[in-house]
Amino acid sequence: MRRIVVGLVLLCGVSGRAAAQSSIFDARGLGIPQPPISVRAVGMNGSGSMLDGMSGTNPAAITSIIGLSVGFNVFQNWRSSTSPGGEGSGSDAGVPLVTVVNRIKETPYYFSGSFGSYTDRDFGFVTTDTTVVNGTPVGFRDSLESRGGTSDFRLAVGYRSGKTIALGFGFHFITGSNRFYLNRTFSDSVFTPVRQRSELAYNAVGFSLGAVYHPIEPLLLTATVRHDGQMNVDRDSLQAYTYELPWTLAGSAQYQLGSRGTINAEVAYSTWSDANAEIVANGGAGADNTFNASLGAEIATSPAQPGKLPLRVGIRTRQLPFPLAPGQQPSEFSVAAGTGVRFAKGHAAADLALQRLWRKADGGFSEDAWILSLGMTLKP
């Protein structure tokens, strides 16, 4: 059974090539930020991620993990996008997060390595229009495609002092690339098609500090501070420009409902506008600060076995940092549900989550999507 499940999941992972979800709102800046959260947290729409050791949002949360644990997620995204140019649908798959956590034997210290998506910039647009060539109007069809994004490789150390407080430090190496492909075909065949490509490479170094505080039995509080440093952007192997990545302040709370489950709430604020001036100077549409809030619950369906098919639900609202046009900051609202199961005598767990989300921005741009996520956690 275990071998079958692991084999299936590995196959799922191989099939996903993209780092994260494609979107029409990926067109600008770094695209859409992708929270490094496990499928368990996805089921609660991110609301429990800062207490989830298999997520990458709070380095102190790794101290909640018992024993060596390896987790990874895969997802499938189906979306329908609307722009003033028309409507279209797309789909893609990806591997957004891989996490390894362990405790240093007989010490209060924990360490973790994780590799996940930081931002996504997968998109493809088709535009048709007319241009004047040699004094004559000529119709054309542009196909612009971007593949890639940035990834967050985190090394984290956590420290737990009793049951009251845990602290964590994370070192983040953010790297990635975008490959752009532009094809233009003309309605008049005397003009040969235009085919251009370019590659942007990114790198930045950041850090995060986190804490988990357990003041009273049913309540857990968390807080994190994170700064992602300065993003260096190379274009076709030549240094192009740099801009500041945000400071992020986040906090969450979890209330334990006895054996019936938990209620989770989480907020985060990121200063993406630190990059605004540099992005605008390079011809972009700018960057805006973002606020992210989520609320969710994990309800045990079998109080005697909380890990067996719990029901997870959550809602989330957030702003996206990179507008398609100045002053038109996109926003996203989503609902999620999920569940999970432990098996192989507790050495493995599978989680499943389904998200429904809506994104919109002024100017007639909107999008809705279904995202099915599958996560596996192994404790060898």
Binding site: V133, N134, S146, R147, F191, S198, A285, L311
Partner: protein
Amino acid sequence: MNVLFRRFTLRRFALGACGAALVGLLGCTEDFTTPGYCPQTCPGGNIVIRDTVIDAVVDGDSSYFGYLAPGEGTGLLVSTAEPADQYLTAMRFGAFPDSVRIGDSLYAFVVDSVGISLGVLARDPDATGIALQVYRAPVTVDSGITFAEVAGYVVPATFLDSITVPDTLENGNVQVVFRGADLVKVAIPAADSGVIALAVSVTADSATGVELGSTTAAGFLPRITWYISVPEVDSTKQPAPIQRVPTFDTYVQQNPPAPDPDVLQVGGAPSARFIVRFSIPDSVIVGVEILRAELLLTPTTPIAGVPGIGTTITARGVLSDQGGKSPLVPLLASTTAVTVGSADSVTVEVIDLVRTWQVIEGTRPAQAFFLSLQPEASSFTLPVFASTRSPSGAPRLRLTYVYPLDFEEP
């Protein structure tokens, strides 16, 4: 809720979850493309198409003559007699034997009939009443023969017969057969050693010309067929007809154009070709993506020739500029049709050739084009284009191109 979930065993759930995920993840292809709307979904902006017209290098263009002589091309030209010009064709056939071998013996034979076949490669489809006039010519027909000499053979005394070209015939063979008393017309005197020569002219309801197949054409070659019999053998052993094609053929023009260094001539026979050189600024050739490249040639006068017969101009790249004997870029050629009677600019699409100029310095071909007329030395069409020495209409190259898109715009 609990009842609902308890219906599933752990094992079923795990398999079901992974199965559903597999279906989802493997069953769906990646498809990122949705309708865009600029400027919001056009990071990097739009492609800006630029258009630059570049004049040829002054005095860097010139015509060269003598590539293919009349008869070395695929066609032989004949045209109606007009005050301004006329084409006549002459040909000499291979020797006709005086005996045939049947079994182990040589036999004298009797000529029953003689067929003369000529091939029409191209004609004006609108011309009517075309007839090829076949004359006997002396066997001394050879290279260097003049129009006046061939015209001297096209007289009633040497007239053999007329071959009508049906008005509906686009191309194909036409033939005349001599029998009985007419055989004397094609009899070969002993002094000619079995060789026969012909001269051909054409008549029609109006001025026109016909392109006949030559010995280098793929088909429709001139041919004489002798149908013979040997009285000494029975009918089952009679010899096959004897056929001969020309060992020499040519055509002559009454008023061939004289070379003019101030214009660009192409075609004719001996055929002319010309070279046009350019000096392209790096700003429009290096690092750009070329969408279209047009070589613009301006006729000095309406293009002369016979309408309705297809003719093209071919531009080739020049590997190394060595004038009239420049080695050419292999495999790449740009072709455009020319229209008789038109004075409009002729545009040759040369993008494939211009793109060879974008390779790294040191290995790239010369920025020049070498132009010829097709079918070479086999066409009535005689374009004459303005050169850089002409008062106006010098060759130009129009490049339409784009610079690389600034994908980095965030």
